[in-house]
């Protein structure tokens, strides 16, 4: 009962938590560059400002797809928090990304098309690894339900450490962080798919970015198993890792990104699958 209340609270507050993570990240990023940085609540100030701006939409389907992107991502996060089917979670997330790619292709802006292309290539890079991790989790617990991972007494990290490494390698692609931020590349394609959004419709895409943080850090949290403190420690370490990587590397092009993910991260996940299958660890 208590657990259900916590879950519902977490689902409702997921965008707020994601906004706080994003604010903290901007702060940490500024401190790493020896700047003072914006206040912690800066993402929420941006949110309130965008509510005030006049709306300019390209066409109604484009604006609608942005909102569908946000809602389907929230559904994915909700299923992940409730401990639903891992494959369902991955495909809900895929659906939300597919919707925003569709929105990117629905305008006539060339930058939007480039961003949508690159987002599609990013899916090709991280999706196989995620599916392999899900299958490994199935081999470990005998069910695709994430709740089995939450309940696992032995932390999942010690059962499948290689899966954690593979997840760390693809997280920059999912979060659109350097060196794999080809989809979002601010200096090249000016934000990619989110380029044509403005006003309150940009807010949906902007808030979906916060939800993406929650989604990715929850995937990391899974590896703690039933031990909440280990999960939180892993999340904190991953946060530092992502930001250090983001600030210290330059962007690679999409071919290098794809080659890295499919030749390094995917084999690691595959070896992990085989090790879990034969119960080596």
């Amino acid at each position: 009962m208590n657990n259900t209340v916590v879950q519902i609270l977490l689902i409702v507050l997921a965008p707020v938590l994601g906004g706080l993570i994003y604010g903290l990240e901007r702060k940490v990023k500024a401190r790493m560059q020896r700047r003072i940085g914006p206040p912690l609540l800066q993402p929420f100030y941006d949110f309130l400002k965008f509510a005030d701006k006049r709306k300019m939409i390209v066409h109604s389907t484009h604006a609608f797809l942005g909102i569908v992107h946000f809602i389907s991502l929230w559904f994915a996060v909700a299923v992940l928090i409730m401990g639903g089917d891992f494959i369902l979670i991955i495909f809900l997330h895929l659906l939300s990304t597919a919707v925003i790619i569709l929105a990117g292709f629905s305008t006539r802006s060339i930058f939007s098309h480039l961003g949508a292309n690159r987002s599609a290539i990013s899916i090709l890079a991280y999706e196989p690894v995620l599916v392999l991790i899900a299958i490994s989790a199935y081999m470990l617990t005998g069910s695709f339900d994430v709740s089995a991972l939450y309940a696992s007494e032995m932390p999942v990290l010690f059962k499948m450490p290689l899966a954690f490494i593979a997840l760390l390698l693809i997280l920059p692609v999912k979060l659109k962080k350097s060196p794999f931020d080809v989809g979002d590349a601010h200096q090249e394609v000016v934000g990619g798919v989110e380029l044509e959004y403005s006003g309150i419709f940009y807010e949906a895409v902007y808030t979906a970015k916060w939800l993406d943080y929650i989604f990715c850090y929850l995937l990391v949290f899974l590896f703690g198993g039933a031990n909440i403190w280990l999960g939180l420690l892993l999340v904190a370490l991953t946060f530092i890792y992502i930001n250090a990587l983001d600030n210290s590397t330059a962007r690679v092009n999409y071919k290098q990104m794809l080659r890295f993910c499919l030749w390094v991260a995917l084999p690691i996940a595959f070896v992990n699958l085989i090790l879990t299958m034969f119960n080596v660890l």
């Binding site: 560059q33 700047r35 914006p38 941006d46 309130l48 400002k49 006049r54 601010h186 934000g191 403005s198």
Partner: protein, 179 residues
């Protein structure tokens, strides 16, 4: 709690170079760097006109760039402010009267704040942007004001209307129009 007070806390900047020599552009980028760090006021250099509030323009507007300038300006949603950075942008500077440009950016789009200097110092740019934020606040309030017409309603304008046509019925069968 008034939510309106937060709207000036996140001005996103659009930087447009209208044919300048890059001197002022470097100073704008210095504002974003560690020494001046205008991100602590919530400003981001977003290269996207559809999400920007403040437009920083550098350079005298050359004939090649003025169409794009007006295009980019018109893509920014209201409320928006324009800051002209540098002498060339304010008046034309040393390029005034040359064959390829005319004097200043305010001949093409409305400018709210002029920042002089060749090139303008980062401190001046920050002061100019802070001034621009006050203008932004005024413009937002102007946008939110409800419009009421002061003109008195028209009593009769000597036009045929439906009430006159229906008069035979209303007036007890006495025709006024169309016999």
């Amino acid at each position: 709690m008034k939510l309106n007070q937060y709207r000036k806390k996140s001005p996103w900047i659009l930087h447009y170079n209208a044919g300048g020599c890059n001197g002022c552009d470097i100073e704008i980028l210095a504002c974003l760097g560690p020494k001046y760090d205008i991100e602590r006021f919530g400003m981001i250099n977003s290269g996207n006109p559809k999400q920007a509030d403040v437009m920083l323009i550098t350079g005298p507007v050359t004939k090649r760039s003025r169409e794009r300038l007006v295009d980019v300006y018109s893509q920014m949603p209201e409320p928006k402010v324009v800051v002209a950075c540098g002498s060339c942008t304010c008046t034309g500077g040393v390029f005034r009267g040359m064959y390829n440009c005319e004097g200043g950016v305010d001949q093409y789009i409305p400018v709210d704040v002029y920042v002089p200097g060749c090139g303008c110092r980062p401190e001046q740019i920050i002061a100019g942007v802070v001034e621009a934020l006050k203008k932004l606040e005024e413009k937002t309030k102007e946008m939110e004001k409800s419009v009421r017409l002061d003109v008195a309603p028209v009593e009769s304008d000597e036009q045929t209307n439906r009430r006159d046509i229906a008069a035979p019925i209303n007036n007890g069968g006495k025709p006024t129009l169309f016999g």
